[in-house]
Amino acid sequence: MTEEVFYWQALNRALDAELAADDAVFVLGEDVGLYGGSYRVTEGLYAKYGEWRVRDTPISEGSFTGLGVGAALAGMRPVVEIMTINFSLLALDAIVNMAAKVPFMSGGQFPMPLVVRMPGGVAKQLAAQHSQRLEQMYMNVPGLRLAVPSTPQDAWWQLRQAIRSDEPIVLLEHELLYFSKGPLDVTAGAPPMHRAAVRRKGADLTLVAWSRMVDLSLRAAGRLAEQGIEVEVIDLRSLRPIDWDTCAESVQRTHNLLVVEEDSGFAGAGAEVVATLGERCFFDLDAPPRRLAAEELPIPYNRNLEAACIPTVSGIVQTVKEMLEGGENP
């Protein structure tokens, strides 16, 4: 039953399946209808389900995301698409002040079955306002969940789980993953939405990553294996909550921890991983845990500088070797 599909296709099929399964599900966002979505994720759905269920919106992120909150309060299951995470800064009030708070502030009266999907990440020379990652911003909000699928299979599973969940969920996709391919088995049973996945087994070092950095980490692990270094690669899949047990179990075996993140390190997601695993696994660690993160800069437009700002496969290889061999270059 396994098929090779693009990441965007997996999301597209997940939406199609949920729109078909439940009349309360509807999709809204800029150019999701007639145009078929900026990254093709909603392709074909407008023709199939009509404008009430697949709604093209004006450029009004704050209010159409807020509309999603209101519709969720009234029993619908809205899936809001924000064109990119950069524009979600205009919808923070709806997501942070409303979606994450109303169930709590009402003393637990209301379900909030809202999904906000958006891609983040550094793509190709989109410059500082269009290259943000910002996941730590949503991680820091009690009442929200944050899923970060890195494969078509996870995109399919996690989007469907998010739509079926009564909690507000931000599904953070990645602009450069939409056109990556991977296997999809729509009949396979899903792990829990927040469960981390061990993508590669290894005894020497635990490498924690998510979203696009998983692919880079796996490629680095492949190169390191040729040199006799076995890295265990964990894909977090969810950044709130984080599956600490899977991570801790690994660190207890490998005694080394490296986090690879696409965003700047300062007060970032990696800081949370290192802090919590440092607390939990302090006596298991052979060396200080490390983070390989982006430069502390807005992303420059210039191609070379953009590339130099974020982790690379060779950068990961080098960091792992430094950690295990004390600074020797590859």
Binding site: E30, Y35, L90, Q125, A127, A128, H130, Y301, L305, A308
Partner: protein, 350 residues
């Protein structure tokens, strides 16, 4: 209008189109990356509006702003170098196509988050009004941008405090793939201004002289301290939203109908790569550029080979712009850090 201004405007119209077509070509060659939003079809708006402004006025624009920058006097080479991401670009290669800035010329930026131009413009307007200066701010935005909350919020404050801001809507009828009647309940943008008691009017954005005259009147009024003004110019973009957009959502008949108004665009295929040839430009009929030359011919303002001379000059300028961009060095990581820390002074952080 004097002949010198007329010829300068014609030059700017021709430069605008030639520059943008060359930018499209350089994009397909890989010399320009990211999002590239081009202006062919809309030239009369930037040229008409900005020729009616004073050098001391400020300009705030969007991501579709190369032409605005050049009409304000930014050298084409400096703009092209920015599109190439080079160190001699106006933003030192840090900003790219969507983020042109030139403090000296009061070009206050290209902003790429839709709806950002209004608050920035009223802030500049506030600074002018506070100091009672005879200056004004010109704030550009698209038809799709009027549904962002900042539009209403900013118009209210501008009117409330009588800020010297000219709001200029470049209504090309599309918000990427969503046509105006599908994104706005009121499709005549200028009518929204009355909700905030701001005088407003709509004019033909394909006629550079009409644009110029409407802007002159509006700016004259603004300089009487009467507060903001809103102008809506109806126009059309011949290419897709950006170079990444094939533009397939627009019915072929619509594009063709508009192309009738602008035969230059007959040659501008919606898919890549498509640039009008010199012959096709020569065969042009009534697009904004041809409309301009027709008017000038009728008035006897285009004697002899004036047009050909300017065209040749513009072609030369574009060649030189590309050569300048190519020759410019790449910025370094130190340049990037210096840009980030430009306001830190001598303070040394631990």
């Amino acid at each position: 209008m004097d002949q010198e201004t007329r010829l300068q405007m014609l030059h700017d119209m021709l430069l605008a189109r030639a520059f943008e077509e060359r930018a499209a070509e350089e994009y397909t060659k890989g010399n320009i990356g990211g999002f590239l939003h081009l202006y062919p079809g809309e030239e009369a708006v930037a040229v008409g509006v900005l020729h009616a402004a004073e050098p001391s006025d400020y300009v705030v624009s969007t991501y579709r702003e190369h032409v605005h920058a050049m009409v304000r006097g930014m050298p084409p080479g400096v703009v092209m170098a920015e599109l190439f991401g080079k160190r001699d670009g106006c933003s030192r290669g840090m900003g790219g196509s969507m983020h042109l800035f030139d403090r000296e010329r009061r070009f206050m930026g290209g902003y790429a988050i839709v709806g950002e131009t209004y608050p920035v413009a009223i802030g500049i307007g506030y600074a002018i009004a506070m100091r009672k200066l005879p200056e004004a701010v010109i704030c550009f935005f698209g038809d799709g941008a009027v549904n962002q909350g900042t539009f209403h919020e900013s118009l209210n404050m501008a009117a409330l405090w009588k800020l010297p801001v000219l709001f200029v809507c470049e209504n090309n009828h599309y918000q990427i793939g969503t046509e105006i009647h599908r994104h706005s309940a009121v499709t005549e943008v200028y009518r929204r201004a009355c909700a905030h008691r701001i005088p407003a009017r709509k004019a033909d954005g394909m006629d550079v002289f009409e644009v110029h005259q409407a802007t002159r009147m509006a700016l004259d009024q603004i300089r009487q301290d009467t507060g903001p003004y809103l102008l809506e110019f109806e126009t059309y973009r011949f290419r897709g939203h950006s170079m990444a957009d094939p533009g397939t959502y627009r019915p072929k008949v619509e594009v063709q109908a508009k192309e009738k108004e602008d035969p230059v665009a007959v040659a501008i295929a919606e898919t890549l790569p498509g640039y009008p040839t010199a012959e096709q430009i020569a065969a042009a009929g009534t697009d904004s550029i041809t409309r301009m030359t027709d008017t000038m011919n009728a008035g006897g303002h285009l004697p002899g080979d004036t047009l050909q001379r300017i065209e040749a000059q513009v072609a030369q300028e574009v060649e030189e712009a590309v050569a300048f961009a190519q020759a410019s060095p790449e910025p370094t990581m130190e340049d990037a850090r210096a840009a980030l820390d430009c306001n830190r002074g001598m303070e040394v952080l631990i």
